[in-house]
């Protein structure tokens, strides 16, 4: 059963071939059996899952079920879940039990989705490899000596090992697409503001976006249909109607204009990964799409821009963790300053501290104009490049990551090398655009991803472009060995 997509499981539930309770037990058993090896979960929630499954079975029996009723799923531990530990991968929140549900969690639960548990992640979503989690690194099911990517690496490993048929994730600089590429999954990040950030623990608010890690673009469409849409509790939520994403999945691609930015094929790109992307472009040519070279001349500014904007916002967002109202508090503080400094010093890990300090520095008096203001200007240059490109083409394509999954511990000593791993994904967050990574082959038996970037709020077309590729190829149906 674990080899099935959400769409296939939904059909089985509807026909009565399986009950939600049986399905849920199947995945809970797999988590129990396999997770010791991968460390993908921080908190499995079997009791709650079974209760939700029984409830879903009642709804299905009464003919009241929707398209997602009874389907199991895992949530990244960045989403607040009422009554369940929400740690954000940090010691700071190791004792935090959320008093409310994030909008994403609430909407999926209302649609009848069963929550299997909360997945491991880089601490406060800061990382590209899932090595910064307080709960230890996650292992890539394709090769346990390698990283699954970050920061939604627990979600990626959970789905790659089929311990969950799908999972939620968040993407601030590539944290859905990069782990999807490294773990052989479909990772979808909608337009900034399309999905509510309410109850999603903030890292860099102008970049953070919730999305999905699934086996197929069709599954991403199914979940996004429920997650997307205006939420008045999030002041940056887009007041736009949500189109029927599944309805556009059948459109053919004749005449589709695909732009390929030459800057994505720089000297940092692994040759074999580049070849896989070229092969994927040929598949699109055969489907009748037209491929054109385009330019994003300021792409080289995207990583440094991100490493000013994101730490600046993180230093501000993380100031709420002060040991007073919730979260970790140090032992025997001698005064208030000692309470703040030691609670934060002991509660945060080294990467979080590094970014908080970077943010404090670039925002400090005397440096604000040189760094933060300048970064907001270069951010505009980067976004304008995309706007110009979309005057010529419908979607953009390129690699998701420069290389396949790297070894655990390989890049941890060098922040800049680690940061450059997100070089092809970061610009998309700075511009606020939607993008998806789909499996597009293997290099040395490790999956690689094709990134497809869409115009603002053009999620329907983007998912269809990914879906059509998955009708022609079976990369997305491959599974790692050893998970049977």
């Amino acid at each position: 059963m674990y080899d099935k997509t959400l769409a296939e499981l939904a059909a089985a539930l509807k026909k009565g071939d399986v009950s939600s309770e049986e399905l849920t037990r199947h995945y809970l058993d797999r988590i129990e059996k396999l997770d010791e090896r991968y460390n993908a979960f921080i908190t499995p929630t079997p009791d709650q899952a079974l209760a939700q499954a029984r409830e879903a079975d009642k709804r299905l029996a009464a003919g009241e079920g929707g398209p997602l009723t009874g389907l199991p799923l895992a949530h990244k531990d960045i989403f607040c879940t009422r009554g369940i530990k929400t740690s954000c991968g940090s010691r700071m929140l190791d004792n935090f039990v959320s008093p409310y549900d994030a909008t994403v969690v609430e909407r999926l639960a209302q649609a009848g989705v069963v929550t299997l548990g909360k997945t491991n992640m880089d601490e406060f979503a800061m990382g590209s490899s899932n090595e910064t989690s307080y709960y230890g690194p996650v292992k890539n099911p394709w090769d346990e000596t390698r990283v699954p990517g970050g920061s939604s690496g627990g979600s990626a490993a959970a789905v790659a090992a089929r311990m969950a048929p799908a999972a939620t994730g968040t993407d601030t600089g590539g944290s859905i697409r990069q782990p999807a590429a490294l773990a052989g999954l479909t990772g979808f990040k909608p337009t900034y503001g399309r999905v509510s950030r309410y109850g999603m623990i903030a890292f860099a608010s102008s970049l953070d976006q919730a999305g999905t890690l699934t086996q197929s673009a069709e599954d991403a469409a199914l979940l996004t249909q429920v997650m997307a849409g205006f939420d008045e509790r999030d002041s940056t939520s887009a007041e736009k109607d949500v189109p029927d994403y599944c309805a556009s999945l059948g459109d053919d691609l004749k005449g589709l204009k695909i732009g390929v930015p030459s800057e994505f094929f720089d000297e940092g790109l692994d040759a074999e990964t580049g070849k896989a992307v070229e092969t994927a472009l040929d598949v699109y040519r055969q489907m009748g799409a037209e491929i054109r070279e385009v330019h994003l001349p300021n792409l080289n500014l995207s990583v440094p821009t991100y490493y000013v904007v994101a730490p600046a916002e993180c230093s501000s967002n993380l100031s709420r963790f002060d040991g007073v109202r919730f979260g970790y508090r140090c032992e025997d503080p001698k005064d208030l300053l000692d309470l703040y400094e030691r609670s934060r010093g002991e509660g945060f890990g080294p990467e979080v501290k590094r970014r908080v300090m970077t943010g404090t520095y670039v925002l400090s008096a005397g440096y604000y104009d040189a760094y933060y203001l300048q970064a907001q200007k270069t951010r505009k240059l980067i976004r304008d490049d995309f706007i110009r490109a979309f005057e010529e083409v419908d979607v953009l394509m390129g690699p998701t990551t420069p290389t396949p999954a790297f070894g655990i511990g390989e890049k941890t000593d060098d922040p800049i090398t680690m940061y450059l791993n997100d070089i092809y994904t970061i610009a998309v967050n700075l511009a606020g655009l939607p993008a998806v990574s789909v499996p597009a082959g293997f290099v040395n038996k490790l999956p690689v991803g094709l990134q497809i970037i869409g115009n603002f709020f053009d999620e329907g077309r983007l998912l269809n472009v990914a879906h059509q590729y998955q009708q022609q190829t079976d990369w997305h149906r491959q599974m790692p060995t050893g998970i049977e």
Binding site: N95, F96, V303, P304, V308, D335, T358, R383, P415
Partner: protein, 95 residues
Amino acid sequence: MSLSPDEVRHIAHLARLRIDERDVDDYAQNLSRIVDFVDQLGQADTADVTPMAHPVDMAQRLREDRVTEENHRDEYQQNAPATEAGLYLVPRVLE
């Protein structure tokens, strides 16, 4: 540009972060590299560029000034490290 250990201690203090004395040199080295890396932004010609405020150019939404939340104090305080009589406890601030 190189950040000295003293500058690192100062930034950590501004950020209200205690860092271990043993780690100061490491942070100085890593932060210096990050600052060097982001310094390249200074070379971009941005003379006529308006800084970006929002990725999708939305206007800030306003709402009516009315209470929409019930009182959740007891529930929220269950996560607090120390409370008394409905208040959050911190070390003495005034002697």
